[in-house]
């Protein structure tokens, strides 16, 4: 399938916060509580549409355990967007955000768009981090913020797409040199910035397109 742009995303955050579930919910529209824990990195992909342009998201889902940080760092290279995830029912996953952010700042390109996600918001009764705290942290560090649930799919679609829209806007504003792939953006055929690029292929949202 052709695309105007391909964005590389990376999903980071402590283990067990629901990174893999968020990815699966986004690519396959389902919640699978029983799945194997992530070793190293796993990949997902989906087409979305922004401003009538088909955009392919290639998403890297990483292992979260501390020991694997040195490996995870090598995955930041060339990511256009990052979803930084914590679990609203586990305070420590929120407390570790700063160190994740430090990693990202250090190893990713400076213009990487970061979306902070407070996941498992379906478990409101077990909440350990308030929405305001999340908002506050995001504001302090210049991140976009959303609470979401991989289980109910609430805000999952929105989180991925809002991140893409932000990246897309940065392209329009000339923040990136899109021909330089280190920004995590690849230009597809005929996708050079400009007014509506009507082309082949389905440009509707959704559909699990892997590869």
């Amino acid at each position: 399938m052709s695309y105007a742009y391909l964005f590389k995303y990376i999903i980071i955050g402590d283990t067990g916060v629901g990174k893999s579930c968020l990815l699966l919910q986004f690519t396959d529209k389902r919640f699978q509580p029983v799945h194997d824990l992530t070793i190293g990195v796993e990949f997902g992909a989906r087409m979305i549409t922004i401003d009538n342009k088909p955009i392919k998201l290639q998403i890297w889902d990483t292992a979260g355990q501390e020991s694997f940080r040195s490996i995870t760092r090598s995955y930041y290279r060339g990511a256009a967007g990052a979803l930084l995830v914590y679990d609203i029912t586990r305070r420590e996953t929120f407390n570790h955000l700063a160190s994740w952010l430090e990693d990202a700042r250090q190893h990713a390109n400076a213009n990487m768009t970061i979306m902070l996600i407070g996941n498992k918001c379906d478990l409101a009764h077990r909440r350990a981090v308030s929405t305001e705290e999340g908002e506050q942290f995001a504001k302090e560090h210049g991140l976009i913020f959303m609470e979401a649930s991989a289980k109910t799919a609430q805000n999952v679609e929105e989180a991925f797409i809002k991140t893409a829209a932000t990246i897309y806007k940065k392209i329009q504003d000339g923040v990136f040199d899109v021909s330089n792939e280190s920004y995590g953006i690849k230009v597809g055929y005929g996708g050079i910035p400009g007014p509506s690029g009507g082309r082949d292929g389905s440009t509707s949202q959704g559909g699990g397109c892997c590869g």
Partner: protein
Amino acid sequence: MSMEATELQDLSDDADYAASQQQGSASMMRSDSGKRSLQSEHEDAVLIYLKDNVAIHPTQFASERISGRLKLTKQDSVLFLSWIPYKGQTSNAKLSEKDRSLYTITAVPFTEVRSIRRHTPALGWQYVIVVLSSGLAFPPLYFYNGGVREFLAMVKQHVFLARSSEDQNVFIVNDFQSPLQRTLSSLELPSSLPVASGQSVYPLDGGSSSENQRRTSSDVGNRVSSVSQSGFRKQKSHDPTRDLSIHLLEKFSLVTKFARDTTTQLFSENNGFGSIDKRWNNQPVHSYPEKLSNIAEEKHHEIRHSYSENDLLKDDEISYIDVPADPLEFDKLSLMWGKPRQPPMGHKERRNDISPSIKCRISTEYFTALLDSEGRVVESKALRERVFYGGIEHQLRREVWPFLLGYYAYDSTYAEREYLRSVKRMEYATLKQQWQSISPEQAKRFTKYRERKGLIDKDVVRTDRAFEYYEGDDNLHVNSMRDILLTYSFYNFDLGYCQGMSDYLSPILFVMEDESESFWCFVALMERLGPNFNRDQNGMHTQLFALSKLVELLDSPLHNYFKENDCLNYFFCFRWILIQFKREFEYEKTMQLWEVMWTHYLSEHFHLYVCVAVLKRCRSKIMGEQMDFDTLLKFINELSGHIDLDSTVRDAEALCIEAGENGAASIPPGTPPSLPLDDGTLYPQEDDVL
């Protein structure tokens, strides 16, 4: 695809390009820009033969043809075949420039040619079909002005050419990889040796892999290092008699090897597990992911495992991406060294009327036969060899794994093991008590424990839950797994728990079916593999480093490729090594691979050779598609579920033997799974969470 096609087009018209492709050094890199190879010394290639008006018919219509020039060139004693279509002279407008470049044959060394089939019908045009050792065939080359006979005669002057006993019209080239009779028949062809021209026929060092397995390992090692340094060593001064005798010696040693294997084969159970012939004629299906193949790859010879020869012959779109040749001629290697796999140890003809309990008894009896009357393993090497070449029947794993893992000593008796089990059972219970006795109040003040437990709780429910044994809510085996891991994190508090451990434990518990026994087997495994999970990842880094050294030794072009493309950290092999391919194979196959590796039969680091084997299978795809780090990582990830175990193990065996002592020397002492050098503190940890 479009990129490759353009490249071929740009370069294929340069008559010298073809020859320059195979300049002396095997480490020469792919000519992505063309610059490098065009600069190289042209004068080395000697034109041996040239034939105009040799054409390809891309369609069944005789009117549609692409005419070109067929050439034989020779460089550093290697004969190359090329066919370059004439510029802008297609007979039919429907045939595009793309078609022309698609069919271009760019300097194929005869070391890669398996056979030439000739068709010299009384009526109609003569043609030849060139079949590569990979099984891939070029489309028929039509000799419009005749001359097939002369062409073959010319080839025969420079390479071994033996007429197939089965088909008068098939000529087999450099017939190393074919079965015994063919090897013997080619011995009868000394007249085809180029004694008169005084030139060696093919590179002596070029990995023709025809050495005897019994060569001393240092010998093998030296050879490999010379290959990796200089590729095809140039033979400036030729002594024809020496060359002749070396060829004959090589042939004879080959015969010895084949004879031995064939005999083994005849004497082993008649079980239908691949004989040499069978393997050759009926290639194991290697099937790499369908979706990963693009046109270029499908045409390329390394994907041969996915296609039957017939499919390839039908295939009319052959093209080549120029990838530096494999200095070891890897395709031949596994046939030369890697022995056929046997059925698993304890295997008996599966009959439906045999109940599982009887099957189990048969297996157990088989194992008992290897023990002396008191239960000692009589010859551990023989046991390990047996497991290495075929794995273990599932019912027997329970008996054998504790030995392989080092939990049982090979020279222990039945009684001693019984005693060990009971002592260890008590010890396990004591260890388990340590965390079970932690009260909620104590836990509140014990962050490290809480965190570990939380992590383990989360992970055991994310480990092989699709596998029957661990399926379902409140699964008891999942609970056992949790208890074992938590107990281990107390037994080895410094190392603690790290993700990936549950991947190791899962098959162990499934095999041992006993919590304490599984725990101690796991402990024994972690004695060797604990460093994989060390906080500073040093165990992983050492192994990745050793892997890079092995690739450098066994495939220097690939190594250079990784180097130039910033992939030398080998992080793309991280998962393979961390959990020894657990995520790459299905459950049963993983257990097979593990027991093979745990024998430490050829090397303690056999898993690294397995890595090299898989990488080498994909080398032309990796280099041909110019994969960068990200693409490579994704590609390797997606190989999961598509790697054929038996042929990979065979390839790894071949590489391991080929590397010999140089291989062992590439692996720094103490690299896991070698037992750590005992310096008191096994797992120095930063004082930090988890």
